[in-house]
Structure formats: C-alpha cells, structure tokens
Subunit: 163 residues, 2 copies
Amino acid sequence: MKLNAGVEWVLHTCLNLGWIEEDTREGASTARLAAFYHLPPAYLGKQLQALVRAGILTSTSGPRGGFRLARRLEDISVLDVVTAIEGRTNAFECTQILHDGPGANPATDYRTVCAVSQTMSRADLAWRRELASETLADIRDRVLTFSPGAPRQTRAWFENTRA
Amino acid sequence: MKLNAGVEWVLHTCLNLGWIEEDTREGASTARLAAFYHLPPAYLGKQLQALVRAGILTSTSGPRGGFRLARRLEDISVLDVVTAIEGRTNAFECTQILHDGPGANPATDYRTVCAVSQTMSRADLAWRRELASETLADIRDRVLTFSPGAPRQTRAWFENTRA
DNA sequence: GACATGCTACTCGGATAGAAACTGTCCGAGTTATTGCGG
DNA sequence: CCGCAATAACTCGGACAGTTTCTATCCGAGTAGCATGTC
C-alpha cells in the first residue's frame, strides 16, 4: 500500500507547467521537466504519458514539442492526477472470501453486503473525497502565499536552461 | 497502492475468533481458521503473527494451542489491524524532490512545508481517521443485524470440524 | 490404583523460494526546423 | 532574393531489463497431552 513515486513527480511537474505556460505560451519537453528535479527522464516521460491518456496533458512530437496542460489548473483535481497514475482500483479490493466460507450464498455480491468491505470502502471514499476536493490551482495558491518568488524562479530556470 | 490481501483475511478471522471465544473459551489454530475460507494456512499464519506482534492476538504453541484475541472487539479498531499488517508508513511518501530543484533550501523539511505533501498527507489522515473511528465490535454488530444466524453457523462449523 | 517419565502429535515462528508490481532504460516512428539548392 | 525540397535533429511512444515488494511454502523449536511402565 504505497503510492507510485510518479504521483509526487507529476504533481510538481504540473505545477511547473502551469507557471511556464503563464509566461511562454509553450510547453516543455520531458528532458527539461526531469532535469528540474534531477529525475530519470524516460521514467518521468512514462508517467506523463499516463496523464495524456487521462486527458490532463497534451503532447506534441518533434522539435519544440513536449507536454502542455490540457486544461486550466482550476479544472484539474488532485484525484484526477492520482487516478491517472494509479488507476481506478481501490486500495482495499474485496475478494469476497465469504464465498469460500460455509453457508455462503453464491448469488450474493459480498463487495456491497460484507460489513468489512463496507468499512474499508468508506475509508477509501474518504481518501478520494479529500483528493477530489482540492485542485492543482488550490495547491498553486498555497505555494504562492508561502514563497511568492517561486513562479519567477521557475520561469527563470526554464528560460536559462533553454539557451 | 494496493493493500495486502492479508488485511481482508485477518479482519474476517478476528470476527470469527470473537464468535468462537464467546462460545468455547478457547482460541483456534491457523489450520482451522484458514480452512474456514480455504485460505493458504501458512500464509494466513504469517499475517496472524503480525497481529500478535501488534498486541491484538495472543498465541500459544502445542496441542490445543492457536490464536486468541488479546482484548475485546470493542477495543480493537480497524486501523489497529490495518497498521499491524501494512506498517505505519503513509500511502504517499514525500521524497522531498524540491531539495533537488533550483533555489532549494537544504535546511527545510519539505515534508511539512511542501503544499503537495500537505494535501496528500491530509488525504491519508482522512483515511486513517475513518478506519480508527470503527472498531471490530461495530463491524460485528452490523453483521448481526444483516445475518443474525452468522455467529451460530460459525460456531457450529468450528465445533463440527473439530471432531 | 496413582504417579513419574518418556514419547508422540501438534502448534507457532522464522527462514526460504516464486510471482507480481514498480522502477528504470532503450530504441523506433513521427514531426519540425534548418539548410542547401535551384529558379 | 525567394521558394522548395531533402536532411538532420528532436520529441514522444511503446517494448525491453533490473529491483523491490508481496505471496506462498517448508522445516525446526517448543509445548501439551498421552501412553507406558513402575511403585
């Protein structure tokens, strides 16, 4: 029950894309996005591809290509990003072992009936609800209040490393 | 980000132990607890050992030995059981990649400062809070209202298979 | 008949393989800017 | 000087290994009950 490391990477990367796109109207390539945090470029690219499939990013090939946000940060929830990487499966997956116990009803769907499954599902739901209630724009704003210079610094880095 | 299968197994097993101990004053061996759901006995035993280390169960060796609840179901939260199996680590582990970015402060602990980490930690907290708010006794009571015959059926099975 | 004693069967516990998922890497298909050539 | 075409460089995308975690199994240490022999 450990989240993929890619979740942390792409969350920070999306924030960076948000700041880059405010400035230049273009995106950024995997190589530069990875270099910003010294991440393995190819593996970060793999995660970003998942975000493209989820409709969070768009990608363009060739020179001056790369990744861009498909929609505004206000319209991307943290849950959207997590789901894109981790998939739609819950942390607790009821295997309905009650079916293998005595006195089981083969027709019953214990994923909805079993009290254990209900409790675990409720916890998963609380987790998802918390992530769904926050957008990347909310996180960006919290970053701004803590370190107002972050956008400028980030943009400057991407400007300088381009040369 | 998938929970161990053992979590489901031991939750159901603890409920069974609760019903057995209401009847006979004794516990049950791994073999019989596993046979109840056709689970791999040795692997279930491994999980139950983790619950012993966590102080949820007690174990006795030798003939007529096995596992017993260390305390009442009212005093065992679902979180206790999950933590015993999964460990105390959060689903999201902040690796502080901001330390590898430009303009980072080496002295800063980004696990508490980083806005991304804050959001993910909040979600993990909501998940844990939900699990901590429910005890095994709560689950047992919900089972009773849905299928009042469950305790008797379970006890009967363990009685019959003993012979 | 009662008791001590050795034995047998049974249990947990940790050490040992196998499978699956995560992490990381590599090369190919496609695209765009560039550069050289011809008009 | 302008337009066109071939080229070269750059990008994503999916296919291919390495590592960690989870799943499953096996055998040994220890214990409780039982059978046996003795008093």
